[in-house]
Symmetry: D2
Subunit: 367 residues, 4 copies
């Protein structure tokens, strides 16, 4: 990862600001002859699109992706794919207050200090709007993965909002698309709905969340130790998403509380080959995929732009109070779900290509 | 990060296996004229060195670092610094059993699957012994940081072993060097001592841990959004350490439970300039350092090599039981403390150089 | 350099095809607060623009550059600058013949073999039209260089067309802008004019050229041995330009014929400091700039698309004859002059940033 | 290429100075299960080894390569291969004069200016001794190439010393190993012998050379446009070799003098598939290999360390005369032959892996 590019062989460079004319992703290294249509990309954009319900920002963006290069007659040519998304619903006047004051907990202050200039409209480059580019790139990655391996699925969902966690015994994949929160637990989804409505309309506040992304069907052998480990790249990918403060693989932080005996994912031979008794490891050992589900979780902090008063200072160094108007997500974690999926897709594809490059096909076998 | 190299401008490539003749780090991009002596590097090696007390592996390695290049008359020349550590206390016969069987929760299986060959002696390249190279490189990074900024300190400590967490109200910096666990809470250190003794001698088990690393005095402005964020690189750096399963910045996973009002680190002007009311952000906003303490935590899973029986398979696909003899750390997290410090040092230096490269000095100021 | 990106800290990724909707450059790592206007970029685009006179392709493109991101209120923000150039004068029907036949000496065959798909219209990604993106990026680089150093000038010109070389005794900087060939020798410019007219209208042929690019005022100390040498990066930058087959620094290939005594650029102290008796080295010793003029030359082969018949094969493996219609440059070297300048600007800026990153300011001084 | 590392997937980082304890190469990304023995590496080292005859430096170095990691039971493991060469015949006292004076045409001045410190003994890091590491790495690359493709051969030879060029009509592959100059023209070899003896013993001078390296049997399809072109990387690789001032692919600079009709390598179908009527392109079109011989040439300037007096200055800025004693190559181009071969091998392997990573196998076919 370097400035605005991530990936080794499948390299994504995103560009653009919240209130500029457009933003996008320059996607390099996609294998040739992958079927890619605007509709395929758009499918994933719809999931992240703002303004779809009252629980997210009310900015209305169609988020239409234009494929500007790299695709010819519906297939990738192996050359850079430029994906562009025009901004259409900017309201820059909402941000007058932020020109001179810093939002606590926001990148306002650090961008100003470092660069001495920033596009303050909607956060400029630091806006979560940048993640639209990631989702578009993730659409390309998913298409390419499908040409390289059968049956890979990448699915994200929310497992916690504020201190309210889902009950895993009620986990239902089919529920995820049934509510505004990508929540696999219908009962908790209803609870979140009430909580967020109160938070948004009465408390003028925002709240954090935890997202989990699972990739199933990923072949064993992906990952390049020691510093190009699959989990290293996943951690970087997720931590690079706006507002993320923690990343976990498998049992994550809870692994600290386990003993070696409990943590061992025991191995045996089943009817379809190797089986594991559990997946504490989240599908990665020594930085290389085991063939089990890849399980990644990340915590998104609450939106710093809130309608409540906070103490801050101005650029002139004067004390000030700030209330942030504008159209902000009360729980930005919700829209981070498709972003996490996109980052997972990009990392998995990148490691498929890296693995094929160095090793070709897996060299070791069982039995 | 790519294969065995990390860093952008300060680039560290580590090499070597647990039971080969030597291992080391090729350190590229160090600024010139930094005073570097073997003693300075050795100082940090002593902290990680195995066999120092009964709570870590009994392998005895002097871990003497030889500076093979890049330093002339006691100063860095700006060319690659090769740091070599010879292995002296290998006992490869301990590993006969692992040639054919896979340790559950260990990289044995994934290395075999991917590469079809592995140096099984002591884990080969997947061994935590690789981290000795990181500590050596970290020694160079610390020396260089001191020439670029005044008063940066980087200190790590253990905050949790198994489910036993320190009591932050008893936090005492001076305690850290007083026990075998880098524990800032004397009372908890005593408790860990008893627990680990029992685990090691009676339960034949191992346990996980949580490490926290704090960098104080780091200037504001470091970090290169969007994919070269300071926290992105820290997450990658820590996740690349053996056995790490989770990484947190500031409040980390707990940030999910906060509201925007609580999470705001409010800003004011104090006698020495900008002050923050809190540090939920762990010193990083929008991927750029705020000038507050950088706070990173990571969870280390329990050692998978234990003296208890676990179910596994052989390379031939036959079911088997495995007990791992040899000399293993009952809590490998202990020795991860200096490793985490070293990774923090490398990342901070790298971003100092990156920042100077693109921006020179911070462009914005308050007041 | 990697796929479609070049540079270390100042990184340029180009995208787009000859006959797609647009092409452009994603420019990352530009220092903040550099004054950048569309007019500044456009100034350099005009030089490379096709269709300006009868000696270049008759395709008419305004080559208007749109700045899509990274510039706010006329200044760079330190975030990615997206430069987009819309294609307006495609005539894809001209290329019907190339769908099935390979032009000898062209990338047609290799792109087909590697990728199994290619945008045959106008050469697709392999078209020299890609170099428009480089010139746009070079405009940004020039603007940034001016903020970092005083008095750097980067100027290119043609020194050879076919076997007709300029007479260096007639070299006149002011002539360069006075003819269609960037020729510093007025007499030779007239000769080239006649020759090219004949070649184009009577001989239905094309011809090669040699371009020289000189950067004056570049500070000493730029370049990062051993594999990031300034000349290494310049060689790569120039060789990456379409149709380039050779690159020389200073005396270049002719250095082979010199003895050590002749080749020594002797040193002395003049009224303004260090002076050299000559510049065989082209301003680079050991990969690091000396402060003398940087002198780079490159040879451009003749355009492979010609109106004369050549023997070739079809995709089906059948023998065939080919004559390439369409609008092609009879001497593509002419329009390579501003491209060479742009690459020089990008490399010099990149090394300014790299140098500042690792070293800060030059550490050694004379006297 | 970045500082001391080159390559994309097959990455070589060299380290060490002329008069330090050792130098070497950290080779990362080698495919697993490649047979590698010290003898295989040593075979190539012998070719570059100094002191073998009176026409090269009289420094005697056995140049024994130790494999420190990454090879287990005679095969590569896919992890970093550390190759170390101990220096044994340093005579640092020879360099007393260079501490204070700069050799004209040498990196002395630029290293001092940039870094303010340098290991002046034997040129330190700027010494051609660094190229021993490249040859060792090239040995690994050759071994890996052999596992990926049948019948690839990489052979270099000298085609010019001073202004004396070989006669291509007398070209004889078998002659190359029969003289001290890797000269394929026996008559010219004799002439060079006389000339170099006179230059060395009477004229106290040195001379430049041109080397040509040919890779046969390289598959079509290698190379990653636009900035990872095969010729771009070859140009960078060769230009990074000490004292190289020019690089040519195929016809190189002479391509400028050709017309499009002459330059066309016409295509036809022969009994074994595609045939070309000529190879002006040097086996590369659009940055991608055609399957023909890869032909690269580079010019090496004369050694700047000569026994003749040259004017220079001291670090104090005083005028001075300099005569360089010590043991220097009168024509350093001779020993550059195996270095050029090694760089060719590294680049070809790297692109084999890159190609396999992105594309797998060639996607297009004829017929």
């Amino acid at each position: 990862m370097s400035y605005n590019t991530f990936g080794h062989l499948f390299r994504v460079t995103t560009w653009g600001e919240s209130h500029g004319p457009a933003l996008g992703a320059t996607v390099d290294g996609c294998p040739p002859n992958v079927e890619i249509t605007p509709e395929m990309i758009q499918h994933w954009m719809e999931a992240r699109k703002p303004g779809q319900n009252k629980n997210t920002t009310q900015r209305r963006e169609p988020d239409l992706v234009k494929i500007m290069s790299g695709v010819f007659e519906g297939k990738s040519t192996g050359t850079p794919i430029q994906l562009m998304i025009e901004n259409t619903d900017q309201r820059s006047k909402d941000y007058g207050d932020i020109v001179e004051k810093f939002r606590p907990g926001h990148a306002d202050y650090t961008y100003w200090t470092k660069y001495g200039i920033r596009d303050y409209r909607g956060g400029g480059r630091s806006s979560a709007r940048e993640t639209a580019s990631r989702v578009a790139a993730g659409g390309v990655a998913r298409a390419a993965i499908n040409t390289l391996a059968q049956g890979v699925s990448i699915r994200g969902y929310m497992v916690q909002m504020g201190d309210k966690k889902i009950d895993r015994s009620r986990f239902d994949w089919d529920q995820i698309a049934q509510n505004d929160f990508w929540c696999p637990d219908a009962q908790m989804a209803a609870e979140w709905e009430d909580y967020l409505t109160w938070l948004r309309t009465k408390d003028h506040n925002s709240v954090g969340a935890v997202i989990e992304v699972v990739a199933s069907g990923v072949p064993a052998g992906l990952g390049a130790p020691v510093y190009g480990k699959l989990d290293t790249d996943l951690a970087a990918a997720m931590m690079s998403i706006n507002a993320v403060k923690g990343v976990e693989i498998g049992d994550g932080m809870a692994a600290a509380a386990l003993t070696g005996r409990d943590n061992a994912d025991e191995m045996s031979m089943g009817p379809n080959g190797l089986e594991f008794s559990s997946n504490h490891a989240g599908g990665i050992l020594g930085g290389i995929s085991t063939g089990q589900d890849l399980v990644v979780r990340f915590a998104v902090k609450p939106t710093s732009s809130i309608l409540s008063t906070r103490q801050t200072i101005t650029k002139a160094g004067e004390p000030a109070e700030i209330i942030t108007k504008g159209r902000h997500d009360p729980c930005v974690g919700i829209r981070a779900v498709p972003v996490g999926e996109a980052m997972m897709a990009c990392v998995v594809l990148d490691h498929m290509l890296m693995h094929r490059g160095q090793v070709g096909e897996n060299q070791g076998s069982i039995g």
